[in-house]
Symmetry: D3
Subunit: 237 residues, 6 copies
C-alpha cells in the first residue's frame, strides 16, 4: 500500500493574490500526481507588499491566527514562506510541529551549495540591511558578493521592461564588479524574470520560493518512503 | 512542446556496487516520468570505501578520468557526489560546466534550513576532523552541535543490529547532551537506517545523498520551465 | 538660556502595568530636575508577558500604532524598549527619527564594556535560542559565558523566594562553572532582584532597562549642551 | 537616609591640563547635586599626547603609580579612561577592584547600540591599525564602516578651522562612501567639535569620554539605590 | 656524543626537475654541516605544473605511493611540501608519523608573525579561490590584504622580464591599493625573484618553501638537543 | 665575497639573568659559524618576572629606552621577544625598522602549521585571559584546544619536580580531555622542560622562544643570500 500523499503549504504572506498566482505557477514544475500536494495560499490579512521591518514582524501573529482559522492546515507536512524576508519563520517554528522553511534562507543555502559567491538583487535598498543581518546570522557573509537594489517603486514594478532592465544591470554589476557567480532574486515577486535573467547573465539565477520548495519537497518525498506514513518527525521542543 | 527531459547524475565514488544500489533505491522517490532522469553510477576505479583523506583526494582525478571515458555523461545537467566527504567536488566544478553538488554540503545546508543545531553521526572518529573543516569552511560551525562516531569497523557495518544500536546511541547523545535538533547521517552508506532512526529519535534525520538530490532536482525542474531547454546555465570561469 | 528639557520614553511592551511601575521605580535614580524627563508607558495592546517569538514580532505593529495614536510622543528625544527581547527595535528605528535603544542590546554592550565574560539568567529555556541569535548578530558570542534559565512559570514568578533562590543558583552556576564575571538579568521584570543578587553573587549584576536608560540618558544630556536644542540628530534614511 | 554620594574618576592619561579642562567641561552635563561626583584628573606623568603604541603601553605603570601616590582615589566607585586608545584599561582592571571603562570601547558599544554602521574619525592614520585591533577584539568589525584620519599634526590641531574642515570632510566620506550612520570622534581632544559636527553631518556624533561617562554614571546611579551603599560590587579575581 | 643528524625531506610535487633544482638552491642557506640534512626530491609521478584542484588532489595518492616506493624516506624527521597549494598535506599527515609542513600555510603564518597585512602574488587568477579557502580555514582572512594574479601563461613564465615586470606591478598594487605590508609569492617557482622583488618593493617578500623549511628546520634543530635522539615526537593518532 | 653576517637580537624582557642564560642555552642549536649571530640580552630595567598586564605594558617604554641606550643594537637584523606575553611587540614594530617577532605569536603559528589543535600550559590562571585575547586577535581560536595553568607560585618554580609534575598533568588533560595534539609551553622560563615533556606526552611540545628564533633565523638566512647584503627590507611606515 502506498503511503498517503503528503502536503506542502506555501504561504504568500502578502495579501496580493496575483503574486500568489505567479508563485503557484512557478511551482507547477514541482507538482506530480504521486508527489506532495503543493498548496499556495494567500495571507489575506497581510499587507499588499512586505516592505519594512514592521511588515515583516507583523506577519508572525497574522500567520498564527491564520492557522487557527484554518485548523486543517495544521496537519500539512511542511510549510514554505514565500517572501524573501522569511517573515514569521521563527515564530511559526515555535508554534507548529512540522518543518518551516524560509525561502530567503533556502535561496542563500542553495546558492552556497553551488560553491561560488552569490549576489542578491533587491527591490529597494532599505531592505538590504535586513537581508545582510539574515546572511550574517546564517554564517554565510563570506559567500555574499554584494546585495544591490534596483530601486523600482511598487507602482513601477508592473513595468516589465523597466524592471527587467534594472535587474539585468544590477546582475551584471554583481557579476563583473563584485565577483558573484550565482544570482539570487531578492523578492518572491521576481519569479517571472528568472529564466530570462539567467539566459542573459549566463550564471545560475535562483528564485527563492523555488529554492524553498525544492528542499521542502525533498524532505517530504523522503519521508513518504516510510510505509504508511506521510508524517514528518515532530520537532522536539 | 515539452522541454527535453533533463538528467541528473549521482556518482558513488567508492567502487562498491551494492552501496550504489542502496543509494539508487533511496533516490527512487525522486524519480517520476516527467522529471529529471536520475542515473546512479559507480566509480569503479575508486576504493571500496572512502576512509581517509588520501581516498578523498584521490577521487578527483579518477572522477575526471571517468568523465573522459564516458563522454556522454558530460552532457548531464547536474551532478551529485554520493559520499559524505564530497570527494572531487571542487575539482569537478573546475572541469565540467554544470552544477556539482556535494552531498555533505547539501546535508549541512538542509539542516541549517531547518533552523536548529544539527549533530552528525560519523562512522569513524578519524573522519571528524575532515568533516569539521568543511563545516568551518561553509561558515556553519555555529550550527554544529557535535560530530560523534559510532566507531564501527567496515567489516562490522553489515551487522545491522550493531550499527543501528550504535547510531541510536550516538544520536541520543547528540540530542540530549549536545542540543542537536536535526541529525545528519555522516555516510552515504547509512541510507537504509534513516526512517528507522528518525522514528526512534523523533527529530528529522537527514540522508546526505537525498539532501543533495533534492536540491539538484529542484534546480533541474526549474530550468525545465524554459521553453525548449533542459540546459543549466553554464558556470562562468 | 537653558535648552528645553529633553524627553526619554521608556516603553514596556507588555500590557502589565505593575511591571511598568516597577521599571519606573528602578529608573527613579536617573531622574533629576534638570535632566531628561523619563516617561514610562505601557503598551496596553501588548500581551501580559512576552514569552514567544510571535509575541516579540507582534509588538512592532502595535508599537507603531501606539505612536500613531499618541502623536505627541513622536517628539520625544529617544526611546528605550523595556523588554529583554528588544521587540520592535528595528521596526521602530525605521519609523521614527530618534534613537531607539534595545535594553537587551544595551545590557550586552554594557557587560562587554566591563571587560569580562557575561552570563545571562533567563526565565524560560525556550527564550535562550532567541537571546543567542541576538548576541551572535551583535558579534559578542565570544563574551557570552552561558545563558541559563530559572524555569519559573509566570504564575510562580510572584513567589519571590522561589524566584530569587533560582536566580541565585543559576547565577552561581554561571560564575563557577561557566566563568561569568558579570551577570545580566534576562528579563525586565527581574529589576527588583538586582541589588540583592549582586550582593550575594559579588559580581556586577546588570538590569537591562537600567542599562538602556543609562546610555540613552547619556546621549540626551550630551545633546542638551547645544544651545537652544534638545533635538537629537535625525537618523539619515 | 540617603546613600553616600558615589564618585567617578575620569583620568586624562596625557599630561596636558587644557585637555582635561575641556573634558571636564564636556562632562558638566553629567554632574548633578545628588548624582555621582565626577572628578577629572590629569596623569601628569603621561606624555603631552598619546600618539604611539609605546605611549599607550607606557600609561599602565604610570597609572598604577598614580593610584599608589593618591591612595584615596582607590576608593572611587568607577574609573573612566579619557583617551581613545584606552591605555592601561586591562592593567588597571587587574589592579583595582572597581569597574574601569575605556572610552573607546564605550564609544564603539554605544554606536553599536544605535544599530547602524559607525565610522571613526582619527587624528593620524598610524593609529588606525591600533583602533582596528580593538574593534576586532570586541567582535564589532561588522559594524565598522571605516576608520579614516584627518592627518592633522599636533601643532596644527589648535587651528580650529583646519581641524573642523578636515573632520567634516572625513565625516562626509565615512557617511557617503562607506555607509556610516553614526560617527565616532577618535580622540578625546575632539570633544569641542561634537555638536557642530553633528549639526553639519546630520547623524549622531559620539564623543568617547561622554560615552564612557554615560555608562559609568549609569552603573553608579543604579548601585546608589542599595540602601546605605555607594559601593560597586567587587570584581571577582 | 652528538645526536644523529636529522633529515628534512622537501618534496616538489610537480615533476619538473628544474623547479626542484631551483628550490634546492633557494634552500642552500639552510644547510650546514651540523644541521639537518635537507633533501629535495621530485615527485616524478606528478604533473609538470600544479594548476588545478584536480592536480592538487591528485598528489595525495601519488605522494603516498612515492613513500611506499621509497621506504627509507619514511624515516625522515619532517617533510615540507614545496608547492603553494600544499597538495597532499592532510593526507600525508594521516599516513606518516612525522610533522608535515605545507609551504603555503607556513608562508601565511610567517607573514602573520610579521604583524601586518599580507598580499599574495598568484600566477593565475583561477588559483585565487583555492588560496582564499585555505586562508579562511586557517583563520587569517583578516590579515589578507588581497590575492592578485600576474596571469602569465606557463609558456611565458620563462620570460623573466615579463614575469618580473608583472610581479612588480601586482606587488605595488597590493601595497598601494590594498595595504599589504608583507608580500607572499604564491608559487614555489617564483623563488628566484624574491630578493630582487623585495629590493624593489621595500617590504618583506616571502618565498613559501623557505618559510616552510625555516619552521621545519627549527623543529628539527630543537629536537636534536635531546641526547641521543633525532626523532620527532610521534603524532598521536 | 660572502655577505656580512647578520645579527638576531633575542631580548628577555624580565630582569632575571638566569632566565636569559637558559634561553640562550636553548637557542644554542640555532647558532652556527656562517649563520646569524644570536645575541641574548636581558632587559635589566624589566621586572624579575612578567606576571601582570601592567608588567607587559610597562615593557614597551623600557624596551625603547634600552635601544636608545644601546644604539648599536638598532642595527640588528631582527628581534625576538623572549616572553610569552610578547610585551612591547607592537610598540617596537612602530619604533625600529627591522622585523620584530613575538615568541607567543610564533608559538601559536608554528603549532597551527602542524595542523592540529594546540593546548597551552600557563603558569598562573590569571594570564589565560591575556593569552586568549592574543589568540583571538590572531584568528586562531578555532585551533586552541584549551589553555590551563599549573598554578605554581614564582617561589616554587625552582622546585623542578613539582613544576614538571604539574606540567605533565596539565599537558595530559589538554590532550585527553580537550583534544590537543600539540602542546605550547606558555612561558619562556619553561624551556628546560621541553624535551622531557615531549618525551612523556608523545606529542610535539613547542618552546615559544625557539619557535620565534626559528622563524626569525629563517628570514635572516634567506636575506643573507642577496649579494653583499645582510639587511632586511625596511618596513614601510
Amino acid at each position: 500500500m502506498k503511503p498517503a500523499q503528503s502536503t506542502l503549504l506555501v504561504i504568500n504572506p502578502n495579501s496580493t493574490q496575483v503574486v500568489t498566482d505567479h508563485i503557484s505557477l512557478a511551482l507547477e514544475v514541482f507538482r506530480r500526481p504521486d508527489g506532495p500536494a503543493i498548496l499556495c495560499e494567500t495571507l489575506t490579512s497581510g499587507p499588499p507588499g512586505i516592505e519594512s521591518q514592521a511588515h515583516v514582524d507583523g506577519i508572525s501573529e497574522k500567520l498564527i491566527a491564520w492557522f487557527e482559522a484554518h485548523p486543517h492546515y495544521r496537519n500539512v507536512d511542511a510549510v514554505v514562506l514565500a517572501c524573501f524576508s522569511d517573515p514569521g519563520m521563527v515564530a511559526l517554528r515555535e508554534t507548529i510541529s512540522v518543518p518551516v522553511f524560509g525561502s530567503a534562507e533556502c535561496a542563500y543555502l542553495t546558492a552556497a551549495a553551488m560553491g561560488d559567491k552569490f549576489g542578491v538583487i533587491s527591490i529597494l535598498s532599505r531592505a538590504i540591511g535586513r537581508h545582510k543581518r539574515q546572511v550574517r546570522l546564517l554564517g554565510l557573509e563570506h559567500k555574499l558578493a554584494e546585495d544591490l537594489a534596483i530601486e523600482v517603486n511598487v507602482v513601477d514594478l508592473v513595468k516589465e521592461d523597466l524592471t527587467f532592465t534594472r535587474m539585468l544591470s544590477v546582475g551584471k554589476t554583481l557579476i563583473d564588479r563584485h565577483g558573484a557567480r550565482v544570482i539570487i532574486m531578492g523578492c518572491a515577486g521576481m519569479a517571472r524574470y528568472r529564466a530570462r535573467l539567467e539566459s542573459e547573465l549566463a550564471v545560475p539565477v535562483i528564485d527563492p520560493t523555488q529554492a524553498g520548495v525544492a528542499i521542502a519537497v525533498g524532505q517530504l518525498l523522503v519521508r513518504g518512503m516510510a510505509a504508511g506514513s506521510g508524517v514528518v518527525a515532530k520537532r522536539a521542543a
